[in-house]
Symmetry: C2
């Protein structure tokens, strides 16, 4: 896991570990919120989230004083999951498959994000570092997987992780995009990412 759930995690204080029941409920709430947002949209009610988690609203508000804090927690958790997936992918024996399946995970992540994009923008406005840090971490993960595939000769070398994300993210953001279409587009991108058949000399984008 990338982050440990602690009290006063953000303030950076002594961070006494949470009581067992509190920690259990925290995790239940984040998972419940993700499900409820996915089903009812970004304007789902706090009551619905608490109910889905099998918990009272008081408990929900103890962990997340404002509605926006729930959105932020779901987002942070999604990003962490994505980074963890990349870290696990680095241990995968097949560098190409690791990259391909991580990109699929990324597309899923981005599509899930769309449902509460408005709320997320609010969170970004309140806390710009959240957006910048997350993007940087995701791009770095992509780059690690890509470099490994390139070094194994399984991906073309004239593309870097930032390029790849710049290509794939806007695709996911677009409003009218169903999962089947995104799967087709991603397949095309992956084919294009393979080393070209003839071994013409190419520039390394990382040199300059």
């Amino acid at each position: 896991m990338t982050t440990e759930v602690m009290s006063e995690d953000v303030a950076g204080g002594p961070a006494k570990p949470m009581r067992a029941d509190a920690r259990r409920n925290y995790e239940r709430l984040v998972d419940a919120a993700r499900r409820v947002f996915a089903e009812h949209g970004g304007d789902a009610s706090m009551e619905a989230i608490a109910k889905e988690a099998g918990v009272g609203v008081g408990t929900l508000y103890r962990h997340f004083p404002k509605r926006i804090d729930v959105v932020e927690a779901v987002y942070r958790n999604d990003v962490d999951t994505l980074i963890d997936a990349a870290d696990r992918g680095m241990l995968d024996p097949g560098p190409w498959d690791a990259l391909a399946s991580w990109l699929r995970a990324y597309v899923d992540y981005a599509q899930a994000k769309k449902v509460f994009l408005n709320e997320l923008h609010e969170a970004f406005d309140k806390n710009p570092e959240l957006k910048l840090d997350s993007r940087e971490r995701i791009w770095a993960s992509c780059d690690r997987l890509l470099v490994r595939a390139q070094e194994a000769g399984e991906a073309r070398c004239d593309i870097n992780g930032e390029d790849l994300m710049q290509l794939v993210s806007p695709m996911c953001v677009h409003a009218t995009l169903d999962p089947a279409q995104s799967e087709r587009l991603l397949a095309m991108v992956l084919d294009g990412l393979r080393p070209p058949p003839e071994a013409a000399p190419r520039l390394d984008p990382r040199q300059h």
Copy 2:
């Protein structure tokens, strides 16, 4: 005026004229909504808008069945005002001054829009033609004013209206931009838009 306030304006039916009191209240409500959004943000309450207009909420809801309809009406009215200003500018004796002051009006319009951007995005999602039509009308207005200034030799000729809007609109969208800064930037753009001192041969962007 670009649009006449009628009942069933959108449906395109026979459009019986509104009763005098209804029309008066409709206009009061749109003006009040603009003021209230500007002061309290895009999440201002319907009650506040009705109160500002000196009208009951029932009247507000008769004219605008849903909250989003108020947002749309304010936006349409703003766009109409902008187009009207361009039309009046076409009669202005000074083509350059007409263009410059219309661009200032555009920047004001865009800045005012920022305060309820979230709500506007909802309206665009519900009704994509609203966004496309408005943009096209605004761009066309810009182009008319620019062409006239170019034909009078008061603006450089290697830029068209679409180029100009593509330069100025993103500037307005950016979140951290105060009016003073936008005035400075616009002044710079206007200076750059003047015909260059030396009469070097230039391409006409409208040729291809």
